[in-house]
Amino acid sequence: MRVPISWLREYAELPAEATPREIARRLIAAGLEVETIDELGADLTGPLVVGRVLAVEELTEFKKPIRYCQVDIGNPEPQNIVCGATNFAEGDLVVVVLPGGVLPGGFEISARKTYGKVSEGMICSERELGMGEGHEGILVLPESSGVPGQDAIELLRLRDDVLDLAITPDRGYTASVRGVAREAATAFGVPFHDPAADVPPAETAESYPASIADPAACSRYVLREVRDLDPAAPSPIWMVRRLQKCGVRSISLAVDITNYLMLELGQPLHAWDRGKLSGPIVVRRAERGERMETLDHVVRDLDPEDVLITDESGPVNIAGVMGGLTTEIDEKSTDIVIEAAHFSPEAIGRTARRHKLHSDSSYRFERGIDHELQRQAAATAVRLLAELGGARIVLGETNLRAPVEAVTITIRADHPDRVAGMSYGRDTVVRRLRDVGCGVSGEDVLTVTPPSWRPDLRDPNDLAEEVIRLEGYENIPAHAPRSVAGRGLTPGQRLRRRVGRALAAAGHVEVLDYPFVSEGDWDSLQLPADDDRRHALRLANPLTGEEPLLRTTLLPGLFRALGRNVGRGFGDVALYEIGLVYRPKRTSSGEAVPPPPRLSVDRGPTAEELAAVEAALPDQPVRVGVVLAGDREPAGWWGTGRPANWADAIEAARVVADEAGVELQVKADRHAPWHPGRCAALLVGDVLVGHAGELHPRVIKAYDLPARTCAMELDLTRVESQAVDVVPAPDITTYPVATQDVALIVPETVPAADVEAALREGVARHGAGELLESIRLFDLYTGEQAGEGNKSLAYTMRFRAADRTLTVEETTGARDAAVAEASERVGAVLRGG
């Protein structure tokens, strides 16, 4: 909402010395969001005068038409001015800037020779005067709007300051000069003159026939009429200028008057050409299948919820939103019907959203307008049509009223004190509520009737806010926070922080990707058709149609982040992300779960109701993902680099597992999007927590990633559930260690993890499990000496007892048992044995 301060001052007796900045500051302190102050004409300097074009000489020797004009500017001698525009005629009133004047933008005007003539000034267009982008060509003033020589800066009110306000949804009444002026007057403690104060006397006769079929949709419906309007009557300059300053284009007198009053009062008005209406008006909901063409030349399919204004021909308006093309005022309209109504905010809001049709009118209706303003607004409109357009006011008024729920609020007089934490006192509370327009009665308990223009005031706290804001938020004291006994972070919250730090410490860089993916991602990831990760939530209104799905895996986002880094010259990168994935639930029969119930808001939900809502939400586990490409360790003066490989991906998972204090089991697996021969399933106990390894070459190609890119994805929620909260202390014994090395030859297909497990099992069966301190693979050999299709694995086993020095016989015995078990289970042969 743009509000010229000159207009504001008409209704609020603001001190003459109050600057626009000070007015804005006080309005902001009262809760109006003044975004900018436009200082119109601030850089405009006269002389700028009204002139009458006396004679025009067309100069034809140039590429474009040039006019040499004689203009009366009130001096004895006319002014000679060269002009490049042609949209004016001899006898027209124009605006002339004389030498020495400066136009907006810093254009200094001087007498100069151009097109072979001396031009003593310039005839101005609207744009050159900073009036608006309205139309091309010279500004021609309406006849009799001024006299030659008159100061045009004053006449056109070219200097003004305009406040631009963003209107919060609760303050619909400030979408009008009336509402802002009331706040400004209160803010300065000066009188306010309500432009809608004069309620017209009741008319006895009915005007245009109308009826309300749905009182829930429309509580007030007022019609007034005029006849014999001069369709050529121009809008007066003062009105055009105010519209322009508010960002509204002048169209015709009748339309300008409706817009002008909407800006001044906040009451949207509609004007019809009476001759195009047929039969009585009915305010009703649309019928199924109804259509109409609105003023913006769009044919709209109407919804049964849409509120319509109809006549015998069908819909003529979408109520409160936009008029129809068939009844539009045109340049021949003389008989006008003015509509001033109050429509249901919810209905208008729904309709505007449904048709994506947001007008100045719907903007005000959906925020709630004054429900006692319709008669004044309609009466003012017909009066202006009469005064400015020579129309004859038709006696009578159609005035339909449906009951409006009366609101009274009971509050304790000290309620604002209790909300703010300071003491205002009853008198201040009552005075401030009356400033707002409320009726107030009572002593310790107040009965408050909000004014008709404040539908937002419903609760005691709404009234408390009014008192507190007018007394100044800045005057509220600050109380030091109470000390409360919090329990700190949960184990899960601590774990997630540690995981982030540990991965970063291990050289991974965190990224935060968008969760939007596409079906193409599933194909790029080589997911089988029945893979559950394809079962994703879809957005009804995605930003781009290309990524309408919500991720079920972190990997596509990580791949894209990797791609961006590679594209920018960072090919040796390890990235990680910790974030949610969204896995829609399904019923036991595999169907989509039903939507959540819409719960009441006038009481707390029951446990069953809450459970029903939760059941409709997707599972949203926390995942941690890692992607690695290029060199894990770069080459340097120390030697060659080490490319990242599948083991680094598993190692990243182990970093996470270590933070959770759980042991990660690694098993070979085949799982998209990983390389089938280089993919590990990661388990904690029996629980599958994720996968890691090198990516499938086709995935690498599909995402255009560096060759041999590796990745890991882990379900942190599952890891958390297995995490150890309290670590038991180990027994540290100082007896000497005894080591035994064994080299075992096994078929190449036997996983090292199986060999190690067999060795452990063998020791355990030998009864020496407690003595085995560690077992570590220190060499892996494939080649001639291991034999075709075999590999040699060399382990160091460390033994130590808690209470004695072990004998050679004990450790040798344990080793032999281990080897025997490995031989039994995986066909291991002791090398060189």
Partner: protein
């Protein structure tokens, strides 16, 4: 680690002396004939030894000197053996003389040994010098995202006041995201937050448009009083540009307790500003509108860079606050009693406040981040610049 070569004499020299064999008692002694014990002779041998020690120019030479003048066959060692054969009255004097000489030689050896080792060490350490300016970037640096770390820092200010961290889903039921927060259906307030809806329109699910549904979840799942803070991802249908992102982060605090007032809200925000931006910064409140708070406000804080000086006439321009002197911090207000009712909390007994702010915005003005793209693209240069904590 540098390993120094060990000289066994240096370590074991004195110890070996303890095992020197003693000569047998001389039955037919003649003190005059035992010239080796004569004072002049002892003095001469001692002087020879000291001169030789001083003249030794390397540890190897000193080793030879030690053998010659302090070893088993050295004159002083031989002289020492003669003492045992002396008559008791002569033993003491001869022992004192020879012992003194041996002690002087031993100390001179020790001193010279230390000098020569010092010299050797000096030389060896110089030889072992390396170019410590060689780059060693074998282990690439990782980093946490600054949005993660600044959100942690912000929430931790509240945790230090005793708040607990609440968490919740990002795909949220409309009831939590809107209805329970007093956004009536079809109210323009819903339009303030351009919402991603999960298909179909009747799904009743949205991507949460703010962290405020956590207010509802906290009130429904926790015992009163409630002191919680929440930070997390939020979503609105804004195209990515320099100042907008469809995915962004918010942090908000919620208190519901008996007798909570706007003065408590101001106090908590002031404490947050001190914790995040330092002492002595003023805050100011302006009325605003949020459906879930009433009264509602927006809060600004004094610019922590120019402290308002840039807005004074003639003040130096300030990039952080765009020379306004104030920085918009976030939204706040008293929990709307309608919200308490929807959560089954008695508004006659309990009241509360809520305060929320944008994490991206905070990172932008606190660290001078100019463009939202930097925060969402995952460029390692951006993230590495912030390290592990901020």
């Amino acid at each position: 680690m540098v390993v120094f070569p060990v000289d066994p004499i240096a370590v074991f020299g004195h110890w070996l002396e303890l095992f020197e064999p003693m000569s047998a008692p001389n039955k037919s002694y003649d003190p005059v004939e035992v010239t080796s014990l004569h004072p002049d002779e002892v003095a001469r041998v001692r002087a020879d030894a000291l001169a030789a020690i001083e003249a030794a120019s390397s540890l190897d030479e000193l080793k030879q000197v030690r053998l010659a003048h302090a070893g088993d066959r050295s004159p002083l060692a031989l002289a020492n053996r003669e003492i045992g054969a002396l008559p008791p009255h002569a033993k003491a004097e001869a022992g004192k003389r020879v012992g003194g000489a041996r002690r002087d030689v031993s100390e001179a050896l020790k001193r010279r040994q230390a000098e020569l080792e010092d010299e050797r060490d000096q030389r060896v350490l110089v030889e072992e010098a390396v170019d410590v300016t060689l780059p060693w970037d074998r282990a690439p640096r990782g980093a946490r995202h600054p949005l993660t770390t600044i959100a942690e820092r912000m929430t931790d200010v509240f945790v230090s006041m005793g708040f607990e961290i609440a968490e919740g889903p990002e795909v949220e039921a409309e009831w939590f995201n809107f209805d329970a927060l007093n956004f009536p259906p079809a109210h323009p307030a819903r339009e303030m937050q351009d919402t991603f809806f999960v298909e179909s329109e009747e799904s009743g699910l949205v991507l949460r448009t703010h962290t405020s549904p956590m207010q509802i979840r906290a009130l429904l799942s926790r015992e009163l009083p409630v002191y919680v803070v929440c930070a997390g991802k939020t979503f609105r249908t804004d195209e990515l540009d320099a100042t907008h992102s469809p995915v962004f982060h918010q942090m908000e605090g919620l208190v519901v307790d008996e007798g909570i007032t706007m003065a408590d809200l101001r106090g908590a925000i002031d404490a947050f500003v001190v914790g995040m931006f330092g002492e002595g910064l003023r805050t100011r409140f302006r009325p605003y509108f949020f459906p879930f708070t009433e009264p509602s406000g927006e809060v600004d804080m004094e610019c922590f860079v120019c402290r308002g000086a840039s807005a004074e006439p003639g003040g130096e321009p300030c990039r952080t606050c765009r020379s306004e002197g104030w920085i918009e911090l976030g939204g706040c207000g008293m929990v709307n009693p309608r919200v308490l009712i929807a959560c089954g909390v008695d508004p006659e007994r309990y009241s509360g406040w809520a305060f929320g702010l944008g994490v991206e915005r905070t990172l932008m003005f606190r660290h001078g981040v100019e463009d939202m793209h930097d925060m969402v693209e995952g460029d390692v240069r951006f993230t590495r610049a912030f390290g592990m904590e901020i």
